[in-house]
Amino acid sequence: MIRRLPIRMPFHYAAGASASRFFEVLRDQGRILGRRCTGCRRVLCPATAFCALCGEPTDEWVEVGPGGELLSWTEVPGRGAYALVRLDGGDTAMLHRLLAADAAPRIGDRVRARLADTRAGGILDLEGFELVGEEEVT
């Protein structure tokens, strides 16, 4: 005997102080911010309250991007492409969507964040990353 039972479970999550400010600035000003670690001095983006590497708190906002370097990418048929991007001025990479490109991307390519037209406070306020041609390097 097999019993079928769907489950619907709505949740709500507090983003916390660092991520809240990151998303507010992204939504309202279209700027991307990182947090500098007081221990290892790395600039972390996504912005977090403390550094996962050395465990120390972060204490300073640093603007990063919108340009960056493509560290890796993959394509999932039917779902699109995804990218791992280190934004200029940051020391960690961000996982996001890779927007349609004419040329096949290569690791090490220059990319740039594209802002969404309407922004609601979330990671999709960045529509994704697009490849930047040689002539328009940011």
Binding site: P46, V76, A93
Partner: protein, 384 residues
Amino acid sequence: MRPVAIIGTGQTRHSKRRDDVSQPELVREAAAAALADADLRPAEVDAILISNMELFEGRAFPELWAGAGAWAIGKPCLKIATGGTSGTSACIAAFHQVAAGCFDTVLVVGFEKHSEGHTQAGMALTDPYWDRSVAAGALGNFALSVCQYVQERGVSERQAAMVAVKARRNAAANPHAHLQLPDLTIEEVLASPVIAAPLRRLDMCPQSDGAAALVVAGEASARRRCRRPAWVKAAVTRHDKPYLGDLDRRLATMRTLRQAAAVAYRQAGIDDPVRDLDVAEIYEPVTYAELAWYEALGFCPDGEAGRLIEDGVTAMDGALPVNPSGGVLSTNPVGASGVIRVAEAALQLHGKGGARQVEGARRALATGYGVYAWSDVIVLESAA
């Protein structure tokens, strides 16, 4: 650590669906097999550890109602859930409990019934702010690391396909294994559809229903009850950062596995793993991961994993057979997969490997891989 040994192991038949049994019944099947192998009555077990990723079945408290399948009522029983490492973590917890003198005999049971739930929904429950809308699921996330590894080390699709073929051929000698593809060829692997570039369907592990169990005992009990106890010489865990973008070329560096292996090899007196180990059961979620783990585990220098598989060093008749069981690539009930690694390693030392026995195996390695980059490394040894 005080001497601790594995004295019995047991597994269910693993398959895509086990509609013939409930979850507690599946647990009972593995627990009963392990107790029979150790010649132990349920009343002689002091404590139980349950390994299960309850998210995947959408059902809470597996330690409670599946625990009953392991005769846990009235005894200390805990659940351990650390993704792919759940099973190896549960084994390590049992080693610690027995080594600390808390209990003399601990039963570890890992299980998963992927067919009953939504594994992808469970896997997608990552960080709600940074990951959920953009992470490409577990597969895409892992594929990003594979791309970096391939670029850096020059591993070919064909070399990855050789890992796929080795695993499935080994599985054909394991009556418990889920995937039975004894005639699989490299060409068939390379012709299977791309799921998340460069990963193809046959580069991937399956989702299985199944359970595995083992019995851990202190020194006196182990010597009394088991002819060839599998003594625990090392058991090491390392975790890493929680965000893929902060993991620095995960597969290429694999800090956690390198660190855990270095400590475990030192504790177990292993200088050259290919020479000093007789068999390895490593947790390889995809083919490329097995190649990356060869390097992280010191089976070869960085950049030579492709050559290692081509030369047959890790084949059943090679210097260090890796995954005689067929590995995670052939059988993957997640909560059980780590227990299977340790049970298969112990079974080799017990000399009960049947058609997959590595003759004269005395020293065995078992590893776990979980979540983003968590690693467990366990070394077992039988007395000369």
